[in-house]
């Protein structure tokens, strides 16, 4: 006689569970197949692993993920469009014993406020910036941002992005890695389980760099936006692997030796 699910569960061991202390479970209002909740969950898992949810202040930008702030069980501020790194600078300078993170999208950090991030990195401010890069303005319904791939059709580039008219997409992780104040810069992705596990390691190293007062740490996380890319949800990860990760190379661009040894 086959076992029921409850009988089977008693013989098995729980090997995975959601980070219930740092992530507030329940329905969120993102579209089906969105990559941003996965990125939030990765960050929540590391926060729970380090036990810092009581000691962390999150600064969010403007985008779809602003609605996800209710998911995280920590203190948070919503900054003006693109200005989250400046708000985080003020928070960290006044409260240097707290962990400060900003979570921003590509329309927020790259299109609107790249100067804020570049100057914070140049000053070597000791906080962590997470960029959720889905290469469109998801909240407005899929318009072009500064990181949209060349040839990609959006609502504001109906013939595809043209490099002669709109320029080339900005590789933010490589750009910030060149600055002296940056301690850690990396780019991860959430299109497959393997990429999620690698991204989790990058998030851990970035927060360890902040804990050890090494300077500015930055992780860019490529996320899916099937609604903004006008495709089916299950096609988006494959599209991302075929096109997006070819231009936005995954990997670490600047790792301090102290972090490499600790992680």
């Amino acid at each position: 006689m086959p076992m029921t699910k409850e009988q089977a569960k008693e013989q098995l061991k729980k090997v995975w569970s959601l980070p219930k202390n740092s992530v507030n479970l329940g329905t969120h209002h993102m579209c089906p197949g969105c990559g941003e909740p996965m990125a939030y969950r990765i960050i929540g898992e590391i926060i729970e692993e380090m036990g810092i949810q009581e000691n962390l202040i999150q600064v969010a930008g403007i985008g779809c993920y602003s609605a996800l702030d209710v998911m995280m069980q920590n203190d948070r501020i919503n900054a003006l469009h693109g200005r989250a790194p400046s708000v985080a600078t003020g928070v960290k300078r006044m409260l240097p014993d707290r962990f400060v993170i900003t979570i921003q999208g590509d329309g927020d950090l790259v299109s609107e406020g790249i100067a804020e991030a570049v100057h914070c990195a140049a000053r070597g401010e000791n906080f962590t910036v997470f960029l959720l890069n889905n290469m469109v303005n998801g909240e407005t319904g899929g318009h072009m941002t500064a990181t949209t791939m060349v040839g990609h059709k959006t609502k504001s580039t109906l013939q595809g992005r043209d490099a002669k008219v709109h320029g080339m997409p900005i590789k933010t992780a490589e750009l910030l890695a060149q600055l002296e104040g940056t301690a850690y810069s990396a780019r991860g992705s959430v299109h497959s389980p393997a990429a999620i596990i690698r991204t989790k390691r990058m998030v851990r190293k970035a927060l360890h760099a902040q804990r050890d007062n090494l300077g500015f740490s930055f992780v860019e996380i490529l996320t899916m936006c099937p609604t903004g890319w006008f495709m089916e949800t299950w096609e988006a990860p494959q599209f991302m692997e075929d096109t997006m990760t070819k231009y936005f190379t995954l990997g670490e661009f600047k790792v301090p030796e102290a972090v490499e040894a600790a992680a």
Partner: protein
Amino acid sequence: MPTKAIGTVDLDIEICKGCELCIKVCPVNVLEMSREFNTIGFRYPILLDGCTGCEMCALICPDFCFTAIYRNIPNKRAAEIQ
């Protein structure tokens, strides 16, 4: 002789938005979409026999439907979350 992995998942179908990412990512193809709808109007995955508890679906799920994974071969983290 290596032990065969046996596993199961806790699945909260009421918060599923039917994106089918877990169906594509499952290496043993034991998840399939239902023909019914949940209360918010989406089709949801159903677990068939033969799950190995590999955690892939839980890692990719954007709606946190997979709340826990059980397996007969424990990993490093199993001792912490019991």
